[in-house]
């Protein structure tokens, strides 16, 4: 997806996002204005197709106008400015990009943004309030040192939260099996399983 020639004023958009988010936290985020003007000219020049998609990200309506090829992962990171969701392999093999769509864990790198219209997306940023207590799973990862470099951690945590929501009674071997879509190159796996076992109890209470 990178290097496709589409004008994407990423840094400007991120700043805009932060400003808008800070100034009008309750208002829907309308991010299409800047990218649309740039990209309309682009479409005329290249024939590439733009799509405007409105979805719900962490409880807020977000409208993204982007090339049809844009994945949900790139939409979140490059357009909405939520960079907690990580790009690892970008081919559905590593799980770093895991988010929830309508409550289910999915790979945002293999999801087209245009196919998420009206869907409710939760990212790592949406698990807990900025100033509030951490989600029990986030806290458990800290308590049990369940990461080293941390790059896979947002995907691990999003996957683990969905896992416990799917079935709160899982055993350790079942957790290992059902977390196999999240790869950790630092091999923090034993601590990740321990953290999930702790959070499982807290999430159930």
């Amino acid at each position: 997806m990178a290097g496709d020639g589409i004008v994407r004023p990423v840094s400007v958009q991120r700043r805009q996002f932060l400003t808008v988010a800070a100034a009008t936290a309750a208002a829907p985020l309308m991010l299409k204005a800047s990218s649309q003007s740039a990209s309309s000219a682009d479409k005329a020049a290249t024939g590439r197709e733009l799509h405007t998609t409105t979805l719900v990200v962490n409880g807020k309506n977000v409208t993204v106008t982007a090339d049809a090829r844009t994945t949900l992962l790139d939409a979140l990171r490059e357009y909405v400015g939520l960079t907690g969701t990580k790009k690892g392999c970008d081919h559905g093999q590593c799980g770093a990009c895991t988010v929830h769509v309508d409550g289910k864990r999915v790979l945002s790198c293999l999801t087209l943004a245009a196919m998420t219209a009206g869907r409710s997306v939760t990212t790592i940023e949406g698990l807990s309030d900025a100033d509030g207590p951490l989600h029990p799973m986030q806290q458990a990862f800290i308590d049990h040192d369940a990461f080293q470099c941390g790059y896979c951690t947002p995907g691990q945590i999003m996957s683990a939260v969905a896992l416990i929501n799917e079935n709160p009674k899982l055993s350790e071997p079942e957790i290992r099996e059902l977390m196999s879509g999240n790869i950790c190159r630092c091999a923090a796996y034993p601590n990740i399983v321990t953290a999930i076992m702790q959070a499982k109890v807290k999430m159930g209470s």
Partner: protein, 331 residues
Amino acid sequence: MQPFVFSRSNSPSDATKRLADGADVSTSPIAGGTTLLDLMKLNVMRPERLIDINAALSDQIEKVSSGLRIGAMVRMAEAARHSVIQSGYPVVAQSLMLAASAQIRNMASLGGNVLQRTRCGYFRDHTVPNCNKRISESGCAALEGSNRMHAVLGGSEKCIATYGGDFAQALMALDARVEIIGSRGVRTIAFSELHVRPGDAPAAETTLRRDELIAAFVLPSLPWFRRSMYLKIRDRDSYAYALASVAVALDMDGDQVREARIGLGGVATVPWRANEAEAFLKGKVLNDGSAKAAGEAAFADAKTHQHNSYKPVLGAQTVARALLAAKALEI
């Protein structure tokens, strides 16, 4: 990724009509996207038009007079945890749960799952010039290349790429049928007639026409399908493609086999039915010896290459293990 025009379809008639139109534009339906987007990023698949068919086809599992009808848009995870499938068709539930990762199982539609493309590394790398599946008459790099994962059954001089799915083997073993919808109406075929061996034209993988979509799968209702299981042997315990896998269903009369159904995965170019092994077992007492002989019968015609001579041995043992495990099931 090559640019494409994206649109949604809300009905089967609209979707199939749009697939039929514009023969000059390469068009692909998209459901879960887990195969397609991966291969589009690799420039292996380059559709100019994508049609989102998620709202066009059924995502329901329902009992019908001919058995259990599973809509093509049912997700792998939904089918795997469905109570009727778990109790009446364990081989189906297991084949799904032993496939992919939890995230992919939430995304991938069953219609798309059976149409997944091979994991052959030469097919997936568009810079490799010789792949008959990608470029007609360009040769096959796998024949003399790294072929440890490649097929020993159903291959040709043009292609030995392994069919990588799991669910399909269960459908083969249960004699499932496929409901196909096209711009000219609906037709139903045996699942075993969906895929075609590579032969001289490895690019053609199925008997689906350009304007056709898989609408549903129908599993027959036979009580003995409860005596079924899926055994998958892999390089690692989870989230890996099969080195060899076996879908088995047994109709037993005491220790004697009334009927055995055996689907093989990880070893063949298409979802594979082990007809020779099934014929061998009919009427026989199932024990260590007959199970081993059945496994060997399944691979009697295997053709190996430099790095996959282990496959007929592993495959035969996997068949034997699956048969004995299915026999031991309490149903």
